[in-house]
């Protein structure tokens, strides 16, 4: 492990603790789906995205769109730890009048570039952003993170055609491939495979990575390289509920309300430093 990945791993552990706390305090929220994307978000926000925390609306910033809005506790915890807003805000997540709504709201939260909540819509918004920004001299990139279950929404594939047709090579799509959706395994409910081949057939450049291994993420991004006219996609293999042993791949984990006992148990595991 390089020193850099060590720092990222520490950040990821801190973010996971905040995710568990905020959902525990709120007694509401999608814990397992949030935990699966923490490493991807930490990699993006500490290493990849060009941003200014003290100037969230900086025009030349890279943009990030969270398609799977139910995973927003992870995004909120990342933004708080990157000092976009005070960490205290996390403890009023999902409360009446709170800045941190149940699903991301544009304008309400510093650092949130796009609305989220209705599944399948993130890529279309990211396309529009990429089209709007491609004439800027700094050529900001647009990153979009989607869940695998939401790929079942028809509009997603309309948008996938648009990304390729308009040669949006400033766009990088990350698919959180944890293999699970609300009622079970994606392949039991509505098969997505062969996913890589689907994206290739739609005119995308595609790579795969381990969504909990920072070196693997870097390598996948490097292999995509300059895609010359093609939108890029990284299918990241992830584990639902990653980091909390009794949640990992538990089919009921996504809907679980986190009781006090479980919250303490999860935090004890995460205090040990994750993996």
């Amino acid at each position: 492990m390089t020193p850099e990945t060590d720092i990222l791993a520490e950040q990821a552990c801190a973010v996971r603790r905040d995710v568990v706390r905020m959902i525990g305090v709120a007694r509401s929220g999608h814990l397992a789906s949030s935990l699966s994307i923490v490493d991807l978000l930490v990699w993006l926000y500490w290493e990849v995205l060009s941003l200014r925390a003290d100037e969230p609306s900086w025009e030349e910033r890279d943009r990030f769109v969270l398609g799977k809005g139910h995973g927003c506790p992870a995004l909120y915890a990342v933004l708080a730890n990157r000092s976009f807003f005070p960490r205290e805000e996390l403890w009023s997540y999902r409360r009446l009048g709170a800045m941190l709504q149940g699903f991301p709201e544009f304008r309400r939260t510093p650092g949130v570039d796009a609305p989220g909540g209705s599944l399948g819509q993130g890529l279309g918004l990211a396309n529009g952003l990429a089209l709007a920004l491609r004439e800027k001299t700094s050529a900001p990139s647009v990153y979009c993170l989607v869940g695998d279950g939401e790929l079942q929404e028809g509009v997603f594939w309309e948008s996938a055609m648009t990304s390729a047709h308009f040669s949006l090579d400033s766009l990088l799509l990350l698919v959180d491939r944890d293999g699970r959706q609300m009622e079970g395994a994606t392949e039991d409910i509505m098969s997505l495979e062969p996913l890589r081949e689907k994206f290739l057939a739609f005119g995308w450049a595609v790579e795969e990575c381990d969504g909990h291994d920072f070196a693997s993420m870097r390598e996948a991004r490097a292999r995509l390289g300059s895609r010359r006219g093609k939108p890029g996609c990284i299918v990241a293999k992830t584990v639902l509920g990653k980091g909390v042993s009794f949640l990992e791949n538990d089919p009921s984990g996504g809907r679980m309300v986190l009781g006090r006992d479980f919250m303490d148990k999860a935090l004890r595991e995460l205090e040990k430093g994750g993996d």
Binding site: R63, E105, G124, L125, V155, E158, S159, T162, H165, F166
Partner: protein, 316 residues
């Protein structure tokens, strides 16, 4: 009266051309119906400022919303049945909730689409768009007011829906495209005994009806309520205070359109009878625009009989 030559949709391409000259951020999203919506006139001049996403109305709305998030001033247009119908949830989640200033232009509204029939004749778009908080809903009566409304929408800070039609309509406004603003309305004919609130193709029908009513010694006031949401509330209330009764006229289902908006306004502020002229409880069908207007009762003579009924029930 000379034969009508221009439809409200004809104003769309012209408005984009005029706006683009003044504002480099103006762009348009099209769903492969640019010839029909008249966006094509703009595309021919500014090919890099129009994004045709193909036959994909859901993605059209999302692309438009993303462009707005990226700082563009966006107009998105297609047939209203599909833009507003199929794109509804995208409009709700990606435009209305974040209150993005996207201009949604629904063309081919109402039965005057003609021969294409029910699937293409949108009659519930006003109901769907009026339901959203902070969505401005505009229905121009002719080419000139359509041009004015489309151009003024460019400075809106929130989302706007503009309803356009396919068939040519008579010119109502001779005095230029200035002054058509959200929340506005225009008293086109002053009267003292019945108020006629109308929009779209029904404005010229209402003006014809007012002539007939005058010959029957009923003085009708005709208000072009081109801003269906927000309504020109003060203009309407001032009028019904004087007349004591009201008729509404629109090329839309009676449910959820201008008529219910006006009824809701006056019932809370100054209750008077409100008789609606609209499409009641049935979808459209094939036919010529004139035949369909007659069949569905969207005519001057229907406004006359509703006005007489309202007048007999008037508040004294």
């Amino acid at each position: 009266m000379p034969a009508p030559e221009r439809s409200t949709r004809d104003a769309y391409g012209q408005a984009l051309i005029e706006l683009a000259a003044a504002d480099p951020s103006v762009v348009a999203v099209d769903g492969d119906v640019g010839s029909a919506t008249r966006a094509a006139r703009f595309s021919a001049l500014h090919p890099r400022r129009v994004f045709n996403v193909g036959m994909a109305e859901q993605d059209m709305i999302l692309t438009a919303a993303g462009l707005a998030l990226g700082g563009k001033n966006v107009y998105v247009s297609s047939y209203a049945s599909f833009l507003v119908g199929r794109g509804y949830e995208q409009i709700r989640s990606a435009v209305a909730i974040p209150a993005l200033p996207v201009k949604i232009v629904g063309s081919h509204c109402g039965v005057t689409v003609g021969e294409d029939g029910a699937s293409h004749q949108m009659l519930e778009d006003l109901a769907l768009m009026r339901a959203f908080p902070d969505m401005t809903v505009l229905v121009p009566a002719d080419y000139v007011s359509a041009l004015g409304l489309l151009k003024n929408a460019v400075s809106s800070r929130g989302p706007v829906y503009i309803r356009l039609g396919r068939a040519p309509v008579p010119d109502v406004y001779a005095d230029g495209d200035e002054g058509f603003v959200p929340g506005g309305g225009r008293v086109l004919r002053e009267g003292t005994e019945v108020t006629v609130c109308c929009c779209g193709i029904m404005v010229s029908e209402a003006l014809r009806a007012a002539e007939v009513l005058a010959r029957q010694n009923i003085s009708a006031e005709v208000i072009d309520c081109y801003s269906v949401s927000p309504l020109p509330a003060q203009i309407i209330l001032d009028s019904v205070h004087r007349t004591g009764c009201c008729v509404t006229a629109e090329e839309h289902f009676a449910r959820g359109g201008l008529g219910e908006a006006v009824a809701s306004l006056v019932s809370g502020a100054y209750p008077v009878p409100v008789k609606p002229v609209a499409v009641f409880d049935k979808f459209g069908q094939s036919g010529s625009p004139a035949e369909l207007q007659e069949y569905y009762g969207l005519t001057a003579s229907q406004i006359v009989s509703s006005a007489v009924q309202a007048w007999t029930m008037r508040r004294r």
